[in-house]
Subunit: 296 residues, 2 copies
């Protein structure tokens, strides 16, 4: 059969993961037990990574040539920073097998969905975003359990039909994730609040503290668990975060404005020592954190 | 001997901990192996807590009357929210045994040191601030290891001599902490950056996100580990944090201004899609976080 028959499930597909960083390699490891491991291949830029991935049985085969690597794949998962995915979708639009289902693991969806909409009509494409990660990157940090119980957003494109959507959902669920369907604009607005704006706060916190340390280096000696937690994501991979920010700038700026409104309220109350106002504000925040954090 | 002879170390003292919340009860548990457990007593507001503390051998004796409880103690540790400590230092200034060494576990130091400076001249007083805690409070959450390897700031007052300073340092070290001497104003400026401002950011983040959830409740479904970490301290005990903020307002407002300057830089670069500027800013923040976070 020349055209991928998406009436068959994940087990019947051959899968090519493009990119063997933390996300791509972890996905391969998560799927090995859910489908014929011999059907999982990869494309990776470096020869060395390709060799290591096969040696360690992360994938059955690995290619450093994109077009050659994806040519036979029923499903292709683009697992790279967002702007690399955009380049791949445009540069290799004709490389995919007719009928293939393309998906991605990118952290913003609007620009990727737009690029997917422009793919040839004989391929399927579904945007996806598994909401997990670690501060460490690369294949060495990969683990089969990375996606387990994590939220995985699925986004339809004009190249999505029910069968391709179901197949990508099956892939996410096989990796252990919990899927949620959102359109691209809504996804990007929501993750600006839930992820990109918090990252911006963390980096600004660390930057301001590092500046303060020029006047008094002891500031780093008195940082405790609160600072450690609040600043943790500031150590995230810069290339990945730059791609996210530059493909979701408007939503992130809007979320920062909303944050700033809340911080200004707080600061104004503190400046006038408004104890009752502060108590109400802080109690509401603590309650919201506890209420929503209970399921994390 | 009527007057505490501070030439003798911690083992020779009788110790009264005022307040059996997380901090006070954990201190008692940490010290039980380092001194005669029979010499550790407590003052607590509620009869029920006093009884439970003795039953569980957290302390050898517990009183609900402040004056009676501290009357015989060579050392008194005030383990309550900051403004309660301030009230205790003023209301019970004559309750301490002549020669006694008073210290505290309060999170801000300027106002407490000022109150300690006004104590009768026949007592010693050293400000102190162990930099640890948990989101859960109360004696049930107490653990002997709470202070282990944590930073513990010591602050001299006009009622501090070398012997009393050494004794409080010995107490901190017996609990497993690593001491650091700072004057009150410097301490308060530093912890505004390292602790109180991050708390303000976390609460503003949660407040803004909770507001956004009124328009789209799905925002709480897409929060992942980054949000969880950045927002964690927003769930802190409100009464404790209110006391901290209201006794360190100027330093916290200044730290927020410095943070805001850094966030404004970030936002301006993002608005003009200044990739190189953002890369430099984010790389510096990631490097500072990794460099200083390595020892946490």
């Amino acid at each position: 059969m020349n055209v991928t028959d998406t009436r068959y499930g994940l087990r019947q597909q051959s899968l090519c993961i493009v990119g063997l960083g933390l996300m791509g390699a972890s996905l391969a490891m998560a799927l090995r037990d859910h489908m014929d491991a011999g059907r999982i291949s990869a494309v990776t830029r470096r020869e060395e990574t390709a060799r290591a991935a096969v040696e360690r049985r992360v994938v059955a085969a690995a290619d450093t040539d994109f077009a050659a690597g994806v040519a036979q794949a029923d499903m292709v998962v683009l697992a790279a920073p967002v702007r690399t995915i955009l380049v791949q979708l445009r540069a290799y639009r004709s490389a995919f097998k007719p009928g293939a289902v393309i998906t991605d693991l990118g952290s913003t969806k609007s620009e990727i969905v737009q690029a997917m909409n422009e793919l040839p009509e004989n391929v399927h494409a579904v945007g996806s975003h598994p909401m997990c990660g670690k501060e460490v990157t690369g294949m060495d940090a990969a683990e089969a359990g990375l996606y387990r119980s994590k939220r995985w957003v699925l986004t339809r494109t004009s190249r999505t039909d029910e069968a391709s959507f179901a197949l990508v959902r099956e892939l996410a669920e096989a990796a252990g994730a919990v899927t949620l369907e959102l359109d691209a604009a809504r996804h990007d607005m929501l993750v600006a609040f839930a992820s990109h704006m918090p990252y911006a706060l963390s980096t600004a916190l660390v930057t301001a503290t590092d500046q303060a340390s020029l006047n008094d280096p002891a500031v780093w000696q008195v940082t405790a668990s609160g600072f450690r937690d609040t600043s943790r994501v500031a150590a995230s991979d810069v290339t990945m975060m730059l791609d996210i920010l530059l493909t979701n700038g408007d939503a992130v700026v809007n979320a920062i404005r909303d944050f700033q409104f809340s911080l200004d309220q707080f600061t104004a109350m503190l400046e006038r020592s408004d104890e009752e106002g502060l108590r109400a504000y802080l109690s509401a925040a603590a309650a919201a954190r506890k209420r929503n954090g209970a399921n994390w």
